[in-house]
C-alpha cells in the first residue's frame, strides 16, 4: 500500500481538527460532534452497503447494540467506559455475524435483505422498549463524571477530537480495504455475485467479514452517542432515524468511496442547518430536504458529491476519490 493514498485522509482530518482551535462556538462543536458520530455509523454502512453492495435498511441494529452494550455495562456493572467500548464494538461485530449468517445463508439479497435488516432492528427496538434491563421506555441515564478514564469530557472540543479520532480510524480502515484483495473481492460480489463465485471468491465468507466489520464500526458510533449524551432509549438506539442517516450519507457523498460518508454527512447536515436558518424551526423541514437530495442523487448523480466532482473536476477527484 502506497502512503500517498492516505494523504487526502490526513488532510481532511487535520482540517477538521483545527476547527476548535480557530472557532469557539459550542453550537458549531455540537453540530460537528453529531455529524462525526453519524459519519462513523455511515462508514460502517458503507463497507457493507457501498463496497459490498448489500443495501441495509436496518443499521440501527448495530448502532443500538453499541449504545446499549456500552450503557448497560456501565450502568449495571460499573465497567470502565473504555472496556465497555471495546466490548460494545465486539458485540456489534457479533450482531453483524449473526444477522449475516442467518440472512446470507438463506440467500437473501436486494429488497429481501433490506427488509430483514429492518425487521431485526425493529424487533430489537420493541425488546429494548419493553425490558427492565434496558430501562424500558424511560431509557438509561448514565452518571455525569467527566474524566478521560470515563470517556467523558467537560470541553466540547475534547469530545470533538475523540469523535474525529474514531472517524479517522474509520477512514484508514476503509482506505486499507479499498486497496486490498479483500476490497476487490467485495467489489466483485457487489458487481456480480455469481461471477465472483465462479472466479473462486468464497462469497459467503467475504460477505460475513464485511457485515461483521460494518456492525463493529456502526456499534462504535453508538458508543460515542452514549458517551456524548449520557442517555439512551429504544427509539434513539434502535430507531429508524439512524438507519436512514447511515444509508443517506454514503449515497449522497459517494457510495462505496472512502470519503463518501464524511462528505455526505456534512453536506446533508450543512444543508439541513441552512434550511432551518431560512425556514425557521418547522419540524421535519430538514428531513424533507434530505429526501429531495436522496431522490435527486439517485435520479441525476448516482456517484453522489464525489461523482459530480469526478465529472466536473476530474483531476481533483482522481486525487481524493478512492
Amino acid at each position: 500500500m502506497r502512503f500517498s493514498g492516505y494523504i487526502p485522509i490526513l488532510v481532511v482530518t487535520a482540517a477538521l481538527a483545527v476547527v476548535p482551535l480557530v472557532f469557539s462556538s459550542n453550537s458549531l462543536f455540537n453540530f460537528m460532534v453529531m455529524s462525526l458520530i453519524i459519519t462513523l455509523a455511515a462508514q460502517g454502512w458503507n463497507i457493507l452497503g457501498g463496497v459490498a453492495g448489500q443495501t441495509s435498511f436496518g443499521h440501527a441494529l448495530f448502532f443500538g447494540v453499541g449504545c446499549y452494550t456500552a450503557a448497560m455495562l456501565q450502568f449495571h456493572f460499573g465497567v470502565n467506559a473504555w472496556l465497555a467500548f471495546l466490548l460494545a464494538v465486539a458485540a456489534g461485530a457479533a450482531a453483524g455475524f449473526i444477522l449475516g449468517f442467518l440472512s446470507f445463508r438463506a440467500g437473501l439479497r436486494g429488497s429481501y435483505f433490506a427488509l430483514i435488516t429492518l425487521a431485526f432492528a425493529e424487533l430489537m427496538r420493541i425488546l429494548a422498549n419493553a425490558s427492565d434491563w434496558t430501562g424500558g421506555a424511560a431509557g438509561l441515564l448514565l452518571k455525569l463524571n467527566p474524566g478521560f478514564s470515563n470517556m467523558q469530557f467537560e470541553s466540547r472540543a475534547s469530545f470533538l477530537w475523540l469523535a474525529l479520532a474514531f472517524v479517522f480510524i474509520g477512514l484508514v480502515i476503509s482506505r486499507a480495504i479499498a486497496g486490498s484483495r479483500f476490497g476487490a473481492q467485495l467489489v466483485a460480489v457487489r458487481e456480480n455475485e455469481d461471477a465472483a463465485r465462479a472466479l473462486g471468491v468464497d462469497v459467503l465468507s467475504v460477505k460475513l467479514k464485511a457485515i461483521s466489520l460494518s456492525g463493529a464500526i456502526t456499534a462504535a458510533a453508538g458508543v460515542l452517542y452514549v458517551q456524548n449524551f449520557l442517555y439512551i432509549d429504544a427509539n434513539i438506539g434502535f430507531g429508524v432515524w439512524i438507519s436512514i442517516e447511515a444509508l443517506l450519507a454514503p449515497l449522497v457523498g459517494g457510495r462505496g468511496l472512502v470519503l463518501g460518508p464524511l462528505i455526505g454527512t456534512f453536506t446533508l447536515h450543512g444543508l439541513g442547518e441552512l434550511t432551518k436558518s431560512f425556514a425557521g424551526r418547522i419540524p421535519g423541514i430538514d428531513l424533507m430536504v434530505f429526501a429531495v437530495v436522496l431522490i435527486g442523487v439517485v435520479a441525476f448523480a448516482s456517484g453522489g458529491v464525489l461523482g459530480l466532482l469526478r465529472r466536473f473536476a476530474p483531476r481533483l477527484a482522481r486525487r481524493i476519490a478512492v
Binding site: T55, F57, L102, S103, A106, G107, L108, G110, S111, Y112, A114, L115, I116, L118, A119, F120, E122, L123, I126, L127, N129, A130, A137, V240, I244, L247, L251, I282, P283, G284, I285, L287, M288, F290, A291, V292, L294, I295, V298, A299, S302
Partner: protein, 290 residues
Amino acid sequence: MYSPTILIEAMINGLLTGAIYALIALGLTLVYGVLHIINFAHGAILASAMFAVWGLNVLAGVDPYLAILLLAPVFFCLGYGVQRLVIGPAAKGDDGNILLITLGLSIFIENALLAGFGSDTRSISSDFSFAVVEAGPFLISSPRLVGFAGSLIVTAILWFIMSRTDAGKAIRAVAREKLGASLMGIDVGHVYAVTFGLGCAALAVAAGLLMPTFYVNPRVGGAFVNIAFTIVVLGGMGSIPGAMIGGLLIGLVESLSGLLLGESLGQIGIFIIFILVLLLKPTGLFGAKA
C-alpha cells in the same frame, strides 16, 4: 388463564382488524407483483390518506365512509402521477434505485405531514365510533365490522379488475413478461402507473375504513407498513389471495399476542413471523417463484 369469551372476542377483533391490514397489504402486493418493487412509501401514502379523511371530516364535515368515494379516485390519480413522473424516470429501471426512491418519497411525505400538521395525534370521534353489535355473548365494534365488509368488497373488486377486464389482462401480461407485453402493443409505463394508482386507491379506501376507530399522526404509516410487509411476505409477494389470508392471520396473531404478552410486547409476534418466513420460506405461503 383467560376465559373463552375473552379469547374468542379477541380473535374476532383480530380478524376484523386483519381484514383492513389485508387491504393495506393488497396495494403493496399488487405493486410488487407487477413492478417487482417494494414500495417503502406505502405507509406514508396511507398516512396522507388518513390525514385527508380527517381533514375532510373536520373542515367540511364529510363522513369518513363518504370520503372514500372522493379520495379513492384522487389517490388513484396521485399514484399514477407519482409513478409516471417521479419513480419511473428517476429509477431508470434499476431495482436498487426504486427501493431508494420510494424510501426518499416516504421520508418526504412523512415530514411534509409533520411540517403541516405537527406531531399531534388526531382522531375523528362520532357516535358511530363506539357503536357495537351484540352477537350472543360477544360485543363487536360496528365500525370494525364495516371495515371488514369494506375490505372484502374492495378485494373482490380488485380481483374482478385483475381477472375479468382488459386492463387487468394487460397488468397480468406486464407482470409476467414485460418485454413480450410491450411487443404486443401494451404501454408498459402506463400499466405500471395504473397499478401504482390502484395500490394508492386501495390505501385511500383503507384510510376511510380505519379513521372511525384509529388515530392519525405523521408517523402512523410506519406501524402499518411493517405489518403490511409481514403480510405480503407471509402470503407470498404478488399474491392477492395470499394478502387476504395473510392479513387475517396477522390480525389474529397481533390480537392474541397483545392479549397474552401485553401492549408493548404484542407486536413482537408479527416481527418473529416476518423474520422466520423471510429466512425459511421467502416465497411465502402462496408465492409462485423466488
